[in-house]
Symmetry: C2
Subunit: 189 residues, 2 copies
């Protein structure tokens, strides 16, 4: 998706340890016009797939998934990472590792919000090792819901997540696939 790639080149920042900082337009400050265009791109890609629900993970996937949900006109569910009095114990859960936060966290989704045979589109901002996506897929499996595919904003194609899920037969669509970082330069596939 060219508009996203251009924005990564102009406003993204490559940090040590293969970290791409996009906090000026995607995951701390959000450019609503860009995010709506990205949601529309996901819609155009998956619109014939009879999507029943969109699933993402707090916090940085929410705006993007919401933009898509407005076009699909289906509910959006975001998995929670923090335990709250408001999240009952009646949840599907999966434990994942965050490499950028250097922590593990437990994803939780209220069991009432995912139903058997629902057709789920997962949306998230990044795909690298595949931890978050794998956790969301695991939760869908627990609910006997069907993962139709995953829409990802930025895939680090030099890390194994995307390849792993595609080999498992999942339909993974990434709007910007990064082949490598060449110093502080981003090289797309």
């Amino acid at each position: 998706m060219d508009v996203l790639k251009r924005r990564i080149l102009s406003d993204g920042q490559v940090l040590p340890n293969d970290i791409l900082k996009v906090d000026h337009f995607l995951n701390h400050q959000i450019d609503p016009a860009l995010i709506m265009a990205m949601g529309e791109d996901f819609y155009n890609h998956f619109k014939d797939q009879n999507i029943h629900k969109i699933l993402t993970i707090e916090a940085s996937g929410i705006a993007l998934a919401f933009a898509a949900a407005t076009l699909f006109d289906v509910p959006l569910v975001f998995a929670k990472k923090t335990k709250s009095l408001l999240v009952s114990d009646d949840v599907y859960s999966a434990t994942i590792v965050s490499y950028t936060k250097q922590t593990s966290s437990k994803l939780r989704v209220n069991r009432q919000l995912l139903k058997k045979q629902e057709r789920i589109l997962i949306i998230d901002d990044f795909l690298a090792m595949g931890e978050a996506l794998g956790g969301l897929m695991n939760i869908c499996q627990q609910a006997d819901a069907e993962v139709v595919g995953a829409g990802i904003a930025i895939e680090k194609a030099f890390q194994p997540g995307g390849q792993k899920f595609r080999q498992q037969g999942y339909h993974i669509y990434s709007q910007a696939k990064i082949e490598k970082f060449d110093g502080d330069k981003v090289v797309f596939c």
Copy 2:
């Protein structure tokens, strides 16, 4: 805002300790049509205020703030609650207490994302004790940005946050103001 009040009456759930659970349409599963209508209501209320930026807090304020941001056509910034390699130390921060999560947390906003004299509209899903809103206002003060007002989905008017900020002269607009919970019934102001 009648459509929100009706939805609270039909799908909200009153729990012990004055907790209102709205996770089927607002802060776990999200109804995109409702949230867009709420964003439009905030836009209509504040559209003459020359808003430069919208500020909210992860995670449950993001969809609502994003919906408004698309109409104001201004950037959205969400304060982060978790420390990450991606959040530099060059931040404005404020420590707040969450009564529903029974924890305190530190809000952080990258200093580059709030500028002196920017006119900020704060949007959040709940206003009760006023901890989150106070933390966001504190961060705006550190940045010398101007808080034009706050748009709140649900205010628990029997708790002191709203009154406190109105007495301080802030323009607080709440779409659904709850006078009290009568057993498991919600009574609006």
